[in-house]
């Protein structure tokens, strides 16, 4: 288990006009581990992800990557650091093929011209390294792929860039049982390859199946960061719905804006 986090967020605030969505949120992602980010609808998971990926700029707080404090102001900044996000709605273009989607925004060029052979070769190698052998042709339009295949392409797109941190937003939400298992296996493989993986999920089975750590968000605050082995199913559900469970989580009646999440599970907290 790695000692220092690859990506660490501290004291993140984010408001949209008068509405403060994130209050003093903290999150650490460790290399070689899957960190599950859980929370109810509106807890701020997606906003947090968009802050990490540079789509939103943060109002306050620090982002530390690999020990250095960094500013992420655009998706390009995040990509340069090696942070890749696989979004819930996939962000794939239906009218483009697999290779075109995987290189979207970062096309390989020779002079002015797109270097299609190189891109196709790299895409094929990446898919093969993820043990994906189900696509008929790399030049197939993404529109013609199944949900699981699309998710695979989206994940492969994130891996292609030798990324260090991959954040997956509800990767199994729309998938069947078999496809879910495939995608979770892929998620685990990413972490085993040494990447820092963050998995956003509503599904407790998925979370307990693959994650090493769990971060629970509650109404825009970090309720707890715990090791998966230290908590039970029902404790996590309580953290999601009430923000605390026993001695873990947000202290009751704490005024807004005050820092207050537990980083480790106190011994004997088992309910």
């Amino acid at each position: 288990m790695a000692a220092t986090p690859l990506l660490e967020l501290r004291g993140i605030d984010k408001s949209f006009g008068p509405v403060q969505v994130l209050h003093d949120v903290g999150l650490s992602i460790y290399p070689g581990e899957v960190t599950a980010l859980v929370g109810d609808n509106g807890a701020g998971k997606s906003t947090l992800v968009k802050c990490i990926s540079g789509i939103y700029t943060i109002d306050a707080g620090t982002v530390t990557f690999d020990g250095n404090q960094v500013a992420v102001n655009s998706p390009r900044d995040a990509a340069e650091l090696g942070i890749e996000v696989v979004y819930q709605d996939l962000a794939l273009c239906d009218n483009l093929d697999i290779v075109q989607n995987m290189f979207l925004g970062r096309e390989k060029k020779r002079g002015l011209v797109l270097d299609e052979p190189t891109m196709e070769q790299m895409a094929g190698e990446t898919l093969a390294s993820l043990s994906v052998r189900t696509v008929k042709s790399l030049r197939q339009l993404v529109a013609s792929l199944s949900g699981g295949q699309r998710q695979t392409v989206a994940i492969a797109k994130a891996v292609l860039w030798n990324s260090r941190v991959v954040i997956l937003d509800e990767p199994t939400a729309a998938l069947g049982v078999a496809q879910t298992a495939q995608v979770l296996e892929l998620v685990r493989r990413l972490a085993d390859n040494g990447l820092g993986v963050a998995l956003i999920s509503h599904n407790m089975n998925d979370v307990f199946a693959v994650s090493d750590r769990i971060v629970a968000l509650y109404l825009g605050r970090t309720a707890a960061q715990v090791k998966t082995t230290d908590v039970t199913h029902s404790q996590v559900v309580e953290l999601i719905t009430a923000g605390r469970s026993g001695t873990i989580g947000l202290p009751p009646e704490k005024p807004a804006g005050a820092a207050g999440y537990t980083d480790i599970t106190p011994p004997g907290a088992d309910a």
């Binding site: 655009s74 273009c93 009218n95 196709e120």
Partner: protein, 417 residues
């Protein structure tokens, strides 16, 4: 029929044969990815019908006339393809072409500019118009329909003001006049056609070789050869017809050769096809048209792309306006008015460019423009009135839009959007 190759480091791929390639193509067509196929078939049917009803339709003179007749609309439609690829519309392209044509004509007639300064001035006018439209759409977020509808009215007004209330400015500059009215000498017609075929063949073979070297799937040789042969036959037959003597009295003046606009259309087509298909910029246009949010997240500057397509749209309208002015030998307050815009939008849509964005090629504008030129020309030969021509063209446009909508529905049903 197919041989399967697989190795440990590559995704399993199927090496296509001629039969499987055709089968795949047919599968895509059935799945709703039909491209310009209806337009090509429609063009053949229309030519046969008009040719049988009026044999003069197939005369060399009439064939040569089709090019200048369709050219202005084709150029404007090429620009509209870019706008339509983002799911936007440019209703002002017609009068923008009129304004640009008028700028050129006035600079030459009233200010004594020569063609090599007046034409760039007209093109720059197009760029400025496009930038203003694109800026309003992308940065202020006004729907392109409203912005360009306002432009439609305003440019009509600008044209009237420029022509001080309605005078007609005639063009005497021989270079400008020759653009739409003169022909390439017969020898050069042949040389250009042969160079074009050789270049196309070279590009095709190079592509196959580059992919084969990397061990990637290549199109079967049979298909590649068939493509080259198809283009060669088409070009050589066209040149053979066009280099026949078309003058009524060859002793007085000889009229033969490919109309100058034809190679201009071809060059512009190649340039824009290259931009759309082979550059990152073109790829980004398709991405923004297919999934704007996805493109934004991929780090593509969506606003800049949106502005740029309007710039290209109005730039192409300027070229269309210059060609139209050349063909009419003059510019008047209705230049770029009446049916020009609707024919141009119609050309792009008939050719297979989707009104919903994300799907279309520059070639669509050419094939669609050819359909419209043939309808206009053929029905004219058969003595139909303008009213009937408009009704028929309107129906064809409606048919093309239905094909677009239905193929889209079919595509989403077969998961092939």
């Amino acid at each position: 029929m197919t041989t399967t190759t697989s190795s440990d480091t590559q995704v399993q791929v199927v090496k296509p044969t001629v039969a499987s390639h055709l089968h795949d193509y047919w599968g895509r067509v059935r799945g709703g990815d039909i491209g310009s196929l209806p337009a090509v078939l429609g063009l053949i049917v229309l030519c046969l019908v008009f040719g049988i009803a009026r044999p003069t339709f197939f005369s060399a003179t009439n064939f040569a006339n089709l090019f200048p007749q369709g050219a202005a609309v084709i150029f404007i439609a090429m620009g509209l393809v870019f706008v339509l690829l983002l799911g936007e519309i440019d209703l002002s392209a017609g009068f923008a072409s009129g304004v640009c044509g008028a700028v050129m004509a006035l600079l030459m007639a009233d200010h004594g500019w020569s063609w090599y300064t007046a034409i760039p001035a007209a093109l720059v006018t197009g760029l400025v118009i496009g930038f203003v439209l694109g800026f309003l759409v992308a940065k202020l977020g006004i729907p392109s329909f409203v912005v360009t509808l306002a432009g439609f009215l305003a440019f009509q007004g600008i044209l009237l003001v420029l022509l001080s209330g309605g005078k007609i400015v005639s063009i005497r500059e021989t270079f400008v006049l020759s653009l739409a009215n003169k022909n390439v000498p017969a020898v050069w017609s042949w040389i250009i056609a042969i160079i074009a075929i050789a270049a196309y063949a070279g590009v095709q073979f190079l592509k196959v070789r580059n992919r084969a070297v990397r061990g990637l799937v290549t199109d079967p040789m049979g298909i590649v050869l068939a493509r080259i042969a198809g283009l060669a036959v088409l070009l050589l037959v066209a040149v053979a017809v066009l280099t026949k003597e078309r003058s009524i009295n060859p002793l007085v003046i000889s009229v033969k050769g490919v109309p100058i606009v034809a190679p201009i259309i071809a060059v512009v087509l190649v340039v824009w096809t290259f931009v759309l298909g082979r550059t990152a910029y073109g790829r980004h246009i398709y991405a923004v048209g297919g999934n704007t949010e996805g493109a934004r997240r991929a780090g593509i500057p969506v606003d800049r792309i949106r502005i740029s397509v309007f710039v290209i749209g109005s730039f192409m309208a300027a070229i269309g306006g210059i060609i139209a002015a050349s063909r009419a030998n003059s510019v008047d307050p209705n230049s770029g008015g009446s049916n020009v815009l609707l024919y141009a939008v119609g050309a792009a849509v008939i050719g297979g460019t989707s009104l919903f964005g994300g799907k279309g090629r520059v070639f669509d504008a050419v094939i669609g423009g050819a359909v419209i030129a043939v309808i206009d020309n053929g029905m004219g030969l058969m003595g139909f009135s303008s009213g009937t021509k408009f009704i028929f063209t309107g129906l064809i446009l409606l048919l093309a839009a239905s094909v677009d909508a239905l193929s889209r529905r079919r595509a989403s049903a077969t998961g092939n959007r």
